[in-house]
């Protein structure tokens, strides 16, 4: 009776899984490929999210702010500064304006000239920072008014260097998503190859199944289930290793810079959890396509 217990659990569901031999080189190939691709996908995902954060930060920091630089002889600097502030106060679309103090200007120059820069003895331009309303202001009109009332004042609305930075960050984010798509495509291709190899190696299994009345759905389902589960297992391992790799990167606070900021923040740590599910979906679709194609060939 004991030997008949092997039939316990050999119901249609589990049996469909068992009709495909569990061994063969496609076992480790599928698992390894899914694991490696998911490992890389974790980094691509981290890159994409980090680039997104960078783009948002740069955009947020620079949007709605602008600077007016006043270069004038020392005896006219205070008067032109007052004139600029008055002008900004009456310009539609300007929320507020203020002149940077000597300490703030020294802080801006400190990275280049050191902390002991004698600002008072240098003929530095005065910077006026202002913020705009949501509706924005007429930059061209403001430039004309500045020309008339404070000839030494130049408007810098940050557009010139904000745009390339934001574009660069957006491109980086796009690159991350593109990498993810390529990784997904490579995974699909590898699993298709593995599935084809497995189907070819198991031609006798298919013959026997057909002889006893198995329909294509059943046969394909058996292979799909086997490959999907292998892919999920490999992807789960790859995801864990990838997240561990991200955790081992130096923190952004310690060293600063973009690369050290590569990683996840907040809810972003949950995003890698979807990668095994995506790998399963890719494996399912790739194997199903390969299986039905092969079954048509083996008619």
């Amino acid at each position: 009776m004991k030997r008949l217990l092997i039939l316990t659990g050999f119901g249609p569901e589990s049996a469909a899984y068992r009709v495909v031999p569990p061994t063969g080189h496609t076992v480790w190939l599928t698992g390894f490929t899914a694991g490696a691709m998911t490992f890389l996908a974790v980094f691509a995902l981290a890159l994409s999210l980090a680039a997104g954060r960078l783009a948002d930060r740069w955009a947020d920091a620079l949007t709605n702010t602008a600077t007016i630089r006043i270069s004038a002889p020392p005896d006219q600097l205070a008067a032109q500064t007052r004139a600029v502030l008055d002008l900004l106060g009456t310009t539609p679309g300007i929320h507020g304006a203020r002149a940077l103090s000597d300490a703030e200007q020294r802080a801006l120059l400190e990275p280049w000239f050191g902390p002991d820069l004698p600002v008072d003895s240098l003929s530095l331009p005065q910077l006026v920072e202002f913020t705009e309303n949501d509706g924005g202001y007429d930059a061209q009109g403001l430039r004309l008014r500045l020309q008339a009332e404070a000839p030494g004042a130049v408007l810098d609305d940050h557009t010139r260097w904000r745009r390339p930075l934001t574009v660069a960050a957006e491109r980086l984010r796009l690159l991350g998503w593109l990498s993810l798509a390529l990784i997904g495509g490579a995974l699909a291709a590898m699993i298709t190859l593995a599935a084809n190899a497995s189907l070819a190696a198991n031609a006798q299994v298919i013959r026997v199944l057909r002889l006893v009345g198995a329909q294509d759905d059943f046969i394909a389902g058996a292979f799909v289930r086997r490959f999907t589960l292998r892919a999920v297992a490999g992807a789960a391992v790859g995801m864990v290793l990838g997240v561990a790799g991200i955790l081992l990167l130096p923190s952004a606070d310690a060293a600063g810079g973009f690369l050290t900021g590569l990683g996840f923040q907040g809810w972003g740590w949950l995003v890698p959890l979807v990668l095994p599910a995506i790998a399963a979906l890719v494996a399912w679709a790739a194997t199903r396509t390969a299986a039905f194609s092969k079954l048509r060939e083996l008619t």
């Binding site: 009776m1 030997r3 008949l4 092997i6 039939l7 316990t8 050999f10 119901g11 249609p12 049996a15 469909a16 068992r18 009709v19 031999p21 569990p22 061994t23 006798q204 299994v205 013959r207 026997v208 199944l209 057909r210 002889l211 006893v212 009345g213 198995a214 329909q215 294509d216 759905d217 059943f218 079954l295 008619t299």
Partner: protein, 223 residues
């Protein structure tokens, strides 16, 4: 049930079967004989949709063979039990699971008691958890027979089913086929074994078909 109307079959090299017209009526019992290479196996393969006729019209149950999709053929095979000369199994699954395979692919749970009875009957119960590669030729043949009948199919096609069996097991197997025929199943057995045919003809109204010169003919009383 299975009907041949001027059916012919050609391999690349030439015509193997030609102008075959006959009907395997429900509940009939046929032996198929003929010299080696005459086309017995090909005839059986046509009967279960493994091969398609190159001429004529072959009807498998309700459908014309050439118009059947792969899934239709699968459904036909659930109504036909086949015992091959070279019994093929899923070598990684135990014998019991292999015998239950037709039920499995049909989405049915095997009844353990029925399976146990069937395996006892063919003398394979002690080998239920053995793997097919460890079976002898005779054991494989018996496992194939058990697999062919487990679904209680309407038609049973057997290609030299007693080829690897001793006389006692051959007789037991024959009795099973006779019993199945009495239950209304259609039986077709391809065999060289004239003793088997004579023994059976004493138990059941069996017709003998002989393949000769590419045609299937009804054999005379000399058998």
């Amino acid at each position: 049930m299975i009907s041949f109307d001027k059916v012919g079959y050609s391999y690349g090299g030439g015509e193997l079967l030609s102008d075959i017209s006959l009907t395997l009526a429900p509940g009939s019992f046929h032996f198929l004989t003929g010299p080696s290479g005459a086309g017995k196996t090909t005839f059986l393969k046509l009967c279960y949709g493994e091969l398609l006729p190159t001429s004529g019209r072959l009807t498998l149950f309700e459908g014309e063979a050439r118009s059947l999709s792969r899934n239709d053929v699968a459904m036909v095979r659930r109504r036909i039990g086949v015992v091959h000369q070279d019994c093929q199994f899923l070598d990684h699954l135990p014998v019991a699971a292999n015998i239950a395979l037709p039920l499995t692919v049909s989405g049915k749970e095997p009844d353990v008691a029925d399976l146990e009875d069937l395996m006892t009957w063919v003398g394979l119960r002690p080998l239920a958890d053995a793997l097919p590669p460890s079976l002898s030729g005779g054991e494989r043949q018996r496992a194939a027979v058990a697999r062919a009948v487990i679904m209680s199919p309407e038609v049973i096609l057997a290609d030299e089913p007693t080829g690897n069996l001793d006389w006692e097991m051959s007789q037991r197997l024959l009795r099973l086929f006779v019993e199945l025929n009495r239950m209304g199943k259609t039986i077709v057995i391809a065999t060289h074994d004239m003793n088997l045919i004579r023994t059976t003809k004493g138990q059941v109204a069996a017709r003998v078909l002989r393949i000769q010169n590419r045609r299937v003919q009804l054999a005379g009383a000399d058998l």
